[in-house]
Amino acid sequence: MLEIAQRQPIRWLRRSGLLVLLVVLALLPLLAARGDGDGMVNNSTLFSLTQMLMLVTLASNWNFVSGLTGYIDFGHVAFFGLGAYATGILMSKAGWPFLPTLAVGALSAGAAAVLIGRATMHLKGPYFSIAMLGTFAALREIARVARPLTGGGPGLTLPPYLNRPLFYYLALGQAVLVVALYRWVRRTEFGLMMLGIREDEPGAEMRGVNTIFVKTSAFGLAALSSGIVGGMWAYQNTFIDPDIVFLDSRTIDMAIASVLGGLGTIIGPVIGAGLLYWLRDVVWASFLQWHLIVQGLLLIGIMLVLPNGIIGLLGDRSGLDPRRIWARRRKR
């Protein structure tokens, strides 16, 4: 009891800290609007924050599958790509407005993940990872070849729309919603089943868990969200081609952010994505030529010191410590 009482202020601090952070994030664009482009927060800061928020969402999606069910997906950018191409094709070729294309992108990415998952999620460990790497490479080639539809290698140009605050708010809104959704799912029976699959899949199956259903549903949900990010990214970038959309380093960023923050935790990928962006800015500014090497070394160093990510350092599993979730004892 005492222990729980002592934790109360920590939880309160964390909650109010989160609230302050959200308010600041929500007000940032107003500062940018007043700063005429050269204040502390200008349009390019807003752009880079938007990219960071998109990575928060992508990393959370990746972690939802790979961190919670243990299926390490090396090709997750495939679903981002499907969303980007849905928006790109429908806006540039069919003249659709933006928002409905997001829905189409989300649904096609989600449906593709369920189908691909049915085929690849019997594969264990590295075999699944490689199969997803293959899936992503195949999709990139399809985008290159299906020229009449996708514009092929030269790509597609979308109607330009340079409203940075709008994209910022969309990315922020999605990130908040997705993290809240995953946090909630993690606490349900479905979330428990996902963890069971990660810990011992045949064991879970023999205890009545329909593992293929749980895995593919989780995969579909994550892919759906990545499809939305892809659509937003395509529109704000106003141009897509196979190489900038199906970019393998984007998957790697999702993985790094998750592992850096704390694989399998909910808040870990958020912290990891933020840290990765900050690290990149600092390193890039100070080691122009060597920034990739320095960044790589720094990441290796951090992982050696903090094998459980930043969350591990805090000695708490982001409010997700199962001891606390299930600690409510039955009243007698």
Partner: protein, 261 residues
């Protein structure tokens, strides 16, 4: 011992396997084994190391695919079922090399083993219902793990993990429980606890139980019937006293040495 009387032979079996065959490469782990388990039975499955006992459990729970034979459970042909479907029909088991979710808490292990039959999307998108949690707590009391409720399962002693597995196997309120060496590697005090629990399950709760066990004393104590496997073949099957006195059985099991030394 106040053991239930074995069921009349003309009752229909709860579980029936016919001609079960399973090979690994060239090795026939099971070569056409017939088994029948009747409601209310406690059946001992014994045999030397490598005789195919665990493989038989794996086939019955549909973890391993069969090379030959059919399996019926509650009158339904489950040969082509998925393991989770068999579990939902009311067959649960424990494992020789313990399979608990080591990085989850004891209570989470229990909640995750509940009866999932009829649990559907989106009903799964809520925390465990109070009646499930309550059942888990009752069973933790039954397997004497109340104190360890929020410890990680991996931090329990080997014997406690065995008890946890028994608790998990009971969460789904199964009709048939398969126990694979539930007492091996367990300290003698806990062996007695496990023996007690198995007895209570059968006599008080009417569960049908099959247990793989190397401890012959325990088999003689608990079981009404014994099946003996040797090199993937059924060597004997019958009333416990008769089977244990059979010279062919003691020869297979203990080499030249007889059962009594």
């Amino acid at each position: 011992m106040n053991r239930r009387p074995p069921c009349a032979a003309n009752a229909s079996p709860l579980l029936e396997g016919r001609g079960i065959g399973k090979s690994f490469g060239g090795l026939a782990a099971l070569a056409g084994v017939d088994v029948a388990v009747y409601p209310g039975d406690v059946v001992g499955l014994i045999g030397p190391n490598g005789s195919g006992k665990t493989t038989l459990f794996n086939c019955l729970t549909r973890l391993d695919g069969l090379d030959a034979g059919r399996i019926h459970f509650k009158g339904v042909d489950i040969t082509d079922h998925q393991p989770f479907q068999v579990a939902r029909m009311g067959m649960s088991r424990t494992f020789q090399n313990i399979r608990v979710y080591r990085k989850l808490t004891v209570i989470e292990n229990m909640l995750l083993s509940r009866q999932w039959r009829g649990a559907r999307w989106p009903g799964l998108l809520r925390p465990s219902r109070p009646e499930v949690t309550e059942r888990a707590d009752d069973l933790l009391e039954f397997v004497t793990l109340v104190e360890q409720r929020v410890d990680l399962a991996g931090s329990l002693s080997w014997g406690q993990q065995r008890l946890l597995e028994i608790g998990m196997a009971l969460m789904s309120d199964p009709d048939l429980i398969l126990l694979d060496e539930a007492t091996s590697g367990v300290n003698p005090l806990l062996v007695d606890a496990i023996r007690d629990r198995i007895m209570t399950l059968n006599t008080t709760h009417g569960k049908t139980i099959v247990l793989i066990e190397h401890n012959i004393e325990l088999v003689a104590d608990l079981c009404s019937r014994v099946v003996v496997l040797d090199h993937g073949e059924k060597l004997a099957d019958g009333e416990v006293g008769a089977v244990l006195d059979d010279p062919a059985v003691s020869e297979a099991y203990f080499g030249r040495r007889g059962l009594n030394g």
